[in-house]
């Protein structure tokens, strides 16, 4: 029998804010243990939460970008469970009235090869709600150490419908989700820093069946490729269990990326009766149309929309768009350069090939690059106007990447201007003709190739500054005179 996997993802995304969700202390990563706490974060007796307005703004923005309905009223609930990383032993969360309802995420599946666009589809979302992150446990041989720096960081939980069927789809989902979150300025989504964390609910069923199978929750999917590998592993495991006459049991398994395998977790001690109830310390949030409109105005174009515009407006090939579009800064850089010089393809090529190569070699983020969009626009214009050749332009690029000087200034300073002066070139051509009688003879004998050698010699003598078309013309004229 053929089986089909059904996958739903629960993705936690930390919202980028200055301070924590319900406490005034700063939020951040990589600090010394327990240096980002205050009485509220530690849940000291008598402390109370007050919500961070920006975190609400940000989740609304995320919801709007993902096509969710924003609830006119939402509230806060306490999720009660004991765990040492949870300072109050309840987590402030949203239970039955989340702030974002429904929504969908457009994803792109892998194409038949790298330069072929894959199939697009929409994954339905169930909801997005806001909660507070917990602290971090560090396990040792005989005990565990708790650091509460992370506790209280605003955290979104984005829940998808069981709408995916392979590790590839989950991978595409996370990739698309991350692009939106990063480009919306909602989160940096660095999985290594725990800013994006993913749990998967996986089940299998006979292909074509309607009913859902017994689901296994897979945790600790700590990288985007880990998500793909972990899910594919779990699907295979479940199929094997069923094919060998067994039954999948409902459990939580932990993915170990190094071992490339998942093992069941001990979750029996975890009570699953969370006793949710409305948090009496926090007031409901009412979102009106004005508020929504203010946030709508801050939303950038979605990545796939931008890609379609690049196809339509600029006629760019898929491969180049798939380099530009995932990176909002790169896309903005590109569009700014295009605005100045009106040559999208040339600009895109400079960015996709030369700029990315040099940035990565120098280890420089694009924000810190001395080379700005106007440099590329200037360079493209110089080539287009025939001031320099494409080859010379490559050198100018390297120079301006390093120095940040304007391309016009570099050309001027180094005297790289292409020569189209026929008078000057006629002299050089005649010298080359005189020095290479064998080639002249070949040319006269009808060997068209011979002129290329002579051209090369002229370019060499002018150190590449001669306009190749003019050289070609002058050489033929002079050779014909012989």
């Amino acid at each position: 029998m053929e089986y089909e996997a059904v996958i739903g993802l629960e993705v936690h995304v930390q919202i980028k804010t200055e301070s924590k969700m319900f406490a005034r202390v700063g939020a951040g990563y990589g600090r010394e243990p327990n240096t980002l706490t205050d009485p509220v974060v530690l849940g000291l007796p008598g402390t109370l939460p007050v919500m961070n307005k920006r975190a609400i703004d940000q989740i609304i923005k995320a919801g709007l970008m993902l096509g969710c309905e924003i609830a006119p009223v939402c509230k806060w609930d306490r999720k009660n469970y004991f765990y040492p990383d949870s300072p109050k032993n309840y987590q402030i969360s949203q239970y039955d009235q989340p702030i974002c309802i429904g929504g969908q995420l457009e994803i792109e599946l892998p194409g038949s090869s790298r330069n072929v666009m894959g199939e697009h589809k929409f994954i339905e979302l169930t909801r997005i709600h806001l909660e507070e992150d917990v602290g971090k446990l560090n396990h040792f041989e005989n005990d565990s150490l708790v650091d509460y720096n992370r506790a209280g960081t605003p955290l979104m939980e984005i829940v998808s419908e069981p709408d995916m069927h392979s590790g590839d789809e989950a991978y595409a989902y996370l990739t698309a989700l991350r692009q939106i979150m990063v480009q919306g300025g909602i989160s940096d989504c660095d999985m290594e820093k725990g800013q994006l964390r993913c749990d998967a609910n996986i089940s299998i069923r006979p292909k074509g069946a309607d009913m859902l199978g017994v689901k296994v929750e897979l945790k600790n999917l700590n990288s985007i490729s880990g998500v793909r590998n972990g899910i594919d592993f779990e699907i295979k495991r479940q199929i094997k269990v069923v094919q060998s006459g067994g039954q999948v049991i409902q459990e939580t398994r932990r993915w170990d990326a190094d071992a490339g395998a998942a093992t069941p977790m001990r979750t029996k001690e975890m009570a699953h009766d969370y006793r949710y109830f409305p948090d009496p310390d926090l007031m409901p949030v009412r979102v009106d149309q004005d508020w929504l409109q203010r946030i709508r105005e801050t939303i950038p174009e979605l990545p796939f929309e931008r890609q379609r515009r690049y196809f339509d407006e600029f006629d760019l090939p898929y491969t180049v768009t798939s380099v530009l579009v995932p990176d909002l800064k790169l896309s903005d850089f590109f569009e700014e350069a295009v605005k100045e010089c009106g040559e999208p393809k040339a600009v895109a090529n400079w960015i996709a090939n030369d700029l990315l190569r040099d940035l990565s070699a120098a280890g420089t983020p694009i924000d810190d690059s001395k080379l700005r969009p106007e440099h590329i626009a200037g360079l493209v214009k110089l080539v287009k106007d025939g001031v320099i050749s494409n080859n010379i332009a490559k050198d100018v690029f390297i120079d301006m990447f390093k120095s940040g000087d304007r391309p016009e200034d570099i050309v001027e300073k180094k005297g790289l201007k292409q020569s189209s002066d026929t008078g000057e070139l006629t002299g050089i051509c005649n010298e080359v003709i005189a020095a290479n009688p064998k080639s002249v003879e070949d040319y006269k004998a009808g060997k068209e190739n011979a002129i290329n050698f002579l051209k090369g010699q002229v370019m060499k003598a002018t150190r590449g500054k001669a306009n190749p078309q003019v050289v070609d013309q002058v050489l033929r004229t002079e050779l014909d005179k012989l």
Partner: protein
């Protein structure tokens, strides 16, 4: 002079400070001496820090000498229930669970007291985590009623009431979740007020039931209660339930609000179970107001009989969650016997909590647990709506309500400890105000034949504390109950 100094009111002391008749240091010393003399009998204090109090008193005297006195409370000692966070002081809630806890921060109410120059004085005994009506649930000791030390002082703020009654502090702060200020005030013969929910910031008040808790004053007189409330009331952006409202000058309003008022008598508060001596005292008080030209109106609060049930669902549910943080991990009592993290919870909480706390946490956990939420918690929240509606409807007809504060005068220690339900029912007249969020005050209105105080409760409209004070003060001015003191 020295022997009566400790029974002067805060307003009197304030005038004496202003006229340089007394220094703050003298006042604080008199209170320290009085506490040392009588607290063996009263047991109002869990602990006190004489050095800190004297240092603050001297700082107040220096301010005054420089002409920089901060107001009527500058230099006045204020007893503090051990449920309010004071930076650098123990915060135990009378629980073994927080036996070693020292607060690293000030509650907003405390910060405001300090800013007014007041001297926080001692850590006052209470029922553990404010759960109880007699202070018998304190893990430290039971406070005695200064009028009869075989009797309980009421609770949970029993220490706050008893210390004022015994002259160990002129005024004090307590907290009221279901009557924990008004009931001990009544039983100890002092003034106690629970403000409207949201008037005083709860930041730094250790939570029992977050939607019901309020901080409020104890005092010998209505004027003192008004002065103390004035200092702590007002919006605080550290408490989301804090209400933005203009706070009138309560002391000024005392004389400017003259009535006569329309006063409602809710029939549900005068049924069976009301001690005849209490009933007589309250009737006399009603007659007094009638004689003052107030219109006395019979009203009904039909859902009163459900208040105790609703209260014990909502309060215990919130408590079960609020008290989850006491787990032996970050700052509370840690069992030495634990073998792993899970075991640590079970044993630390078994050792750290007393029986009443355990009982309420169990009840609260139960009513929230899977399958019971709708039947208990949600239902209770809906009946709470009806209870609140009862009051708002009554207030369309009257300015305030007159009721007994408690069904009987102080009962004897040990009398109800084995019967939680009977103990819970002793709060029957005070609980509704917390559920409705309205303010209430209890003032002395008589004594039983055996010499125990009786309290009159006046329930007011939301944020109309000034009316309550004025109504209460009218009675106080015509009677001398508030000037009587127990012999200790």
């Amino acid at each position: 002079m020295a022997e009566s100094l400790y029974y002067r009111t805060a307003a009197e002391l304030s005038r004496a400070l202003e006229s340089k008749e007394l220094s703050s240091e003298e006042i604080v010393r008199s209170v320290i001496e009085r506490t040392r003399a009588v607290d063996d009998k009263v047991s109002a204090f869990i602990s006190f820090d004489e050095g800190d109090a004297l240092e603050r008193a001297r700082a107040s005297d220096r301010r005054r000498a420089e002409g920089k006195a901060l107001g009527p409370l500058d230099g006045i000692p204020v007893g503090i229930k051990d449920v309010l966070a004071v930076e650098g002081q123990p915060l135990t809630c009378a629980s073994r669970m927080l036996g070693k806890f020292v607060s690293p921060y000030d509650a907003t109410a405390i910060a405001r007291l300090k800013a007014a120059g007041a001297v926080p004085w001692g850590r006052l005994n209470m029922d553990e985590f404010a759960m109880g009506s007699s202070t018998e649930n304190s893990s430290v000791k039971t406070t005695s009623n200064p009028w009869n030390t075989d009797c309980i002082p009421g609770g949970s703020s029993g220490g706050s009431a008893a210390c004022v009654a015994a002259g160990e502090a002129p005024i004090s702060l307590g907290s009221d979740t279901g009557g924990s200020i008004r009931q001990p005030a009544a039983l100890c013969g002092v003034v106690g007020m629970k403000p409207t929910y949201g008037l005083v910031s709860r930041y730094g008040l250790v939570a029992f039931a977050s939607s019901l808790d309020q901080i409020g004053p104890f005092a010998h007189t209505v004027e003192d209660a008004a002065i103390l409330l004035q200092a702590v009331a007002g919006h605080d952006d550290r408490d989301s339930s804090s209400y933005r409202t203009d706070i009138p000058d309560y002391r000024k309003e005392l004389s400017s609000r003259k009535g006569p008022w329309k006063l409602g008598i809710p029939k549900e508060y005068f049924g069976e179970g009301l001690d005849p001596e209490v009933a007589r005292a309250i009737e006399a008080a009603i007659d007094f107001y009638r004689g003052e030209g107030c219109e006395i109106v019979d009203v009904s609060l039909p859902h009163t009989e459900h208040a105790v049930g609703v209260y014990y669902i909502i309060a215990t549910a919130e408590a079960s969650s609020n008290l989850a943080r006491y787990d032996g991990v970050r700052y509370s009592h840690r069992s030495a016997e634990a073998t792993d993290a899970i075991d640590l919870y079970f044993k630390s909480r078994a050792e750290g909590f007393g029986p009443e706390v355990k009982r309420r946490v169990i009840l609260g956990t139960y009513v929230l647990s899977s399958g019971y939420y709708d039947a208990y918690y949600l239902k209770a929240q809906k009946v709470r709506t009806l209870i609140r509606r009862d009051f708002l409807q009554a207030y369309e007809k009257v300015d305030a309500l007159l009721t007994p504060t408690t069904p009987s005068p102080a009962f004897r220690k040990g009398e109800k400890t084995d019967d939680p339900l009977q103990m819970y029912l002793s709060d029957i007249f005070t609980i509704s105000a917390n559920l409705a969020g309205i303010p209430g005050i209890s003032i002395p209105c008589g004594f039983s034949e055996s010499g125990l105080p009786i309290g009159l409760q006046i329930l007011g409209q939301p944020f109309q504390e000034a009316d309550l004070f004025a109504i209460a003060r009218r009675f106080e001015q015509a009677h001398d109950y508030h000037t009587r003191h127990p012999s200790l």
